[in-house]
Symmetry: C2
Subunit: 414 residues, 2 copies
Amino acid sequence: MERITATYYIETPLDLEKAAQVLAGEQSSGTFIAVPGETQELKARFAARVESIVKLDASTEPSIPSIKLKPGTYQRATIKVSWSIENFGYNLPVLISTLQGNLYELTQFTGLKLMDIDFPTSYSSAYKGTRFGIEGCRKLTNVYGRPLIGTIIKPSIGMSPEQTAALVKTLAEAGIDFIKDDELLGSAANSPFEKRVDAIMEVINRQADITGKKVMYAFNISDELDQMQRHYEKVVSAGGTCAMISLNSVGLAGVKKICDNGALAIHGHRNGWGMLNRHPLLGIEFPAYQKLWRLAGVDQIHVNGIQNKFWESDDSVVTSIEACLTPLLGGYSVLPVVSSGQWGGQAPETYRRTKTVDLLYMAGGGIMAHPDGPAGGVLALQQAWEGAVAGLSIEQIAAKYPEFNNSVRLFGNK
Amino acid sequence: MERITATYYIETPLDLEKAAQVLAGEQSSGTFIAVPGETQELKARFAARVESIVKLDASTEPSIPSIKLKPGTYQRATIKVSWSIENFGYNLPVLISTLQGNLYELTQFTGLKLMDIDFPTSYSSAYKGTRFGIEGCRKLTNVYGRPLIGTIIKPSIGMSPEQTAALVKTLAEAGIDFIKDDELLGSAANSPFEKRVDAIMEVINRQADITGKKVMYAFNISDELDQMQRHYEKVVSAGGTCAMISLNSVGLAGVKKICDNGALAIHGHRNGWGMLNRHPLLGIEFPAYQKLWRLAGVDQIHVNGIQNKFWESDDSVVTSIEACLTPLLGGYSVLPVVSSGQWGGQAPETYRRTKTVDLLYMAGGGIMAHPDGPAGGVLALQQAWEGAVAGLSIEQIAAKYPEFNNSVRLFGNK
């Protein structure tokens, strides 16, 4: 019978073997007193199994403050635990409750992070997953051989549909590939969703008629389910190609249900992610997280960016990009969305570390505030990536391209 | 215009006033360079507003390890920030992205926890919320004047529908009010959901015909959306009164969509909660969390229990129970589910601290393993609560009631 294997980074005041058994027991057949019916045969079939334990360093203080524990030895380790798929079948929410669930509550762990999940091959027939992924998003935007260049409508909230559409027109004429709503904007008082879609898609469709290039606009449809579905259909009927969902705010069941429509590329925004990940020994790491959303059908997912304005290290960002580009069961391609303080200057380092152009590279103020105007801003980003792929440094790219050089003058000290 | 106010517990290396402004700016109109269209009028209408700052203690080390920061002064505070409801209207996912979202990513905070949310009165017409709540669950089980006594089917996973039904029969005959699936059990290979419902409801319905009392069974319907809906309908058609959902695993949009059916009491399981809450300065506190689920329509929600087997302190459990019992916009009554290592011995302390019997009091092994059999186990729990309400100590209750006395002999040293 196929098994699912989860990798955890743990910290425990117990003996490692004992701690691992507690984890496996709690998440398959645990209770604090034995009850009738708990046969050996049953245990063997449904019990979680500790597959490996790799001992790491130790600390004298628990990583997560724990009122019920005293100073002592808190041993860290990487452990792998597996479950038969007979336990949950093809049910991602119950899978999550099994692999995570009450584990974070156990005093036996002073730190626990789900690092990765290995799915068995039968999951590839159970989950349709992403309908567009990297190739599909390239096809929809007609961008090949370089990252898709994108931007976010700012200010995040407060602009009318007409103001937004005017900004979209400017950006479309500047040659942008992708634009998105901010995650704060669903349907605001002065920017009702339908009106925004109509105003923006009129601009995008007209521009597409002229140039043959349709800008991909990720409308934020995050909402309760029926409303999300209505907004999804609105985007489809207006000729849009993409919808954005705040993954953590909407949740897995809602996101999958919307993805299953299959008509739009889904831009997965991971806001709230820091809550699940910021502590080194609590939560879930991106390699595990992104697999769940790929199976659910998300085509694009945020990975932060090199030299970002947030807390996350470059190493972590690189790991996330690599996770997205690692094949999953032969499919479920997902486009990493690089954002947060990006202006083009991070392109050389991003390329040096990831060796990929399969990215959606998002720049915020860097485009609109560019000295040569938005067209100069978009061009500068393309130049940054051309130079990055050619192995040039920021200085070398600036020497070669005047628009990128102007970006450096504006943002180089950020 | 109505505003929503969020209360945060923060830690920051910045001046408090500055940090609070960063929070407000990031979650309403922030970008790293000013762009055209960001008018003063627009800012005034949609900008988040810092309402209050209460300075607390400070630390020389950040609470969350932060590679981008050096030792210094990390000041803690409670701050309140408000948003006009014009920003998001009645859209809980976008509300969550606004009140939490990228905040956890900011280097300006080395700790951030959402403590509470104050909703304006118009939310009471926008959200139907809980259909049953405390009174509805009492009516469905015909239990008044004491906590509902419940238990969880253990082993969590591996029993056949017939074995489970046999256990339910024993428990029903023992006088239990409530039984639930474990969160690990959705539809396992040897316990397909439909078959389990049929087998269990046959027992429960027959018992109800005899005694007039219908045991409330929370079938775990957690799954992807269409399947959840099918399973919900199956429970309804079989005469069930309750369905359980793992809130964090399914997510808000999915949970609300299911609650909106309105035919079953929804048992909200918070597994995964430790990830969102275990660190004192990261995530969300229960008073904020439970409000979101009440608006979504969850009728029962887990609060852990006094002297629980998990990491959580009794103070935190008491705060959670109080949060559930605090009226929300004149409605949205929710029944706190007390569980984790409960055997009746915690009843006096639970009552002493909360002064309520509006609880669903869950005991696991404590019922089935009772020396006088399951009926003795259920009776002992009722006795524990009778004694607790009368102000008796464990010893006094044990002296008065033989069945509870036998519980003490079995569990008293746990």
